[in-house]
Symmetry: C2
Subunit: 263 residues, 2 copies
Amino acid sequence: MRLVDVTRTINIEKIAGKMRGVEADVVIAEYPFTIHINDKELVTLLCSPTHLEYLALGFLQSEGFIQDDSSIKNIEFDEEKGYINVHIYNGERILNEKAFGKRTLTTGCGKGTTFHDVAQSLASDPIHSKMMISTEKVFEFVNQLHESAQIFRKTGGAHISTLASEQEMMFVHEDIGRHNALDKLFGECIMKDVGFEDKIIITSGRISSEMLIKSAKRKIPILISRSAATQLSVELAEKAGITLIGFVRNDKMNIYTNGWRIV
Amino acid sequence: MRLVDVTRTINIEKIAGKMRGVEADVVIAEYPFTIHINDKELVTLLCSPTHLEYLALGFLQSEGFIQDDSSIKNIEFDEEKGYINVHIYNGERILNEKAFGKRTLTTGCGKGTTFHDVAQSLASDPIHSKMMISTEKVFEFVNQLHESAQIFRKTGGAHISTLASEQEMMFVHEDIGRHNALDKLFGECIMKDVGFEDKIIITSGRISSEMLIKSAKRKIPILISRSAATQLSVELAEKAGITLIGFVRNDKMNIYTNGWRIV
């Protein structure tokens, strides 16, 4: 791990029944990471300090600042200082457009475009992927993800997400923010030139509309969570042609939409 | 409940072992709520559709648009349409200042002011409240809160928070977003003219730096969570003079900072 550790050990007071004493405890780090575009400060994300370059690129793609790596002129990245400056083509124009755009703040961290515009654009161009996976594979992925969750196990304060092909988990990221964990996956895809359209996302975090929209923008056909999905994410998944699965635990799961992809 | 229901019942496919069938399931609603200031669209929050006027006022106070109810000229609120337009004094000046400010996006939804500025201002004016509570009371509050969590019990997708005096829980709000649940509490305080400085916050949600900052800005001396606290929230609680408690479960708790208030 670079920069600062992902977790820190600190001395705290613990109470258990009638006992009270000072003990070492592991807490999750929360790191303010500032992203610049064309020398202009854009935003500070609070995140787990791992793979910050992936986080930056995934975030910029989620927010529409870049399309893919062809949008990028060059990147100045100082991992020690937690500094990134992404030089993009048409930066001035895009920054101006965004400055006058509307903001949507979500349960996580969505913003940038008007919520209703996004919902409409998903519906107008749904995903037609014929990809299917078996229920056994869904359970296998979720169990594998759960076993990989090292930071969560230490601190109880992290989310974990993976991008998988039909066969196997390809990339895994943990972060204090469930949106950051997704953006790190997307950023890794951009840097390694991996396509999205035949992939599956599996996450420990709840699926809100913004989690759904992040996946839908990449045309990812299957989105799986160990936790709950909101009513709006279910509606959007239906419109976007996404198979949305929640509450995968033991031998149970809820298939909210497009169940034909699960065999 | 007004507007739309807080939960929706929809038919989904459920898999349990070798069984697969369509069943009714309850999912949590996610409602896009747009806040206007002096006729200008400011932000769309995705939230649970309850007590939207509290949410708006709490949010505006968290973000520094209003100080208290004396900052407000009048409020146009159409609950059916999910529309609120808050007319504030010095609106033009404040909106201009904010437009040129920097944004911090957090694991939840913080933004508005530079993160480092906020951290510094907390440290320069710490909380000196002599308030204390017993460990028994901490356990009692957390159990009571857990029992009140109706939406969570139905959907697994909500956070619950309460504002309590030394003696009892005063206000309780549930929301898909843990930040929204806090802002609803603060909004209710503004509208009912209830002070913050002798109060306790108890929440189901994780304590990130932004949750801590929201409480610290109101000079609330004690912040209690059933879940984890991040390293940064612990550092900020130390600087701000806040008693921060996490992982309150059964007869156990972690006291991260200023344990002298817990007797």
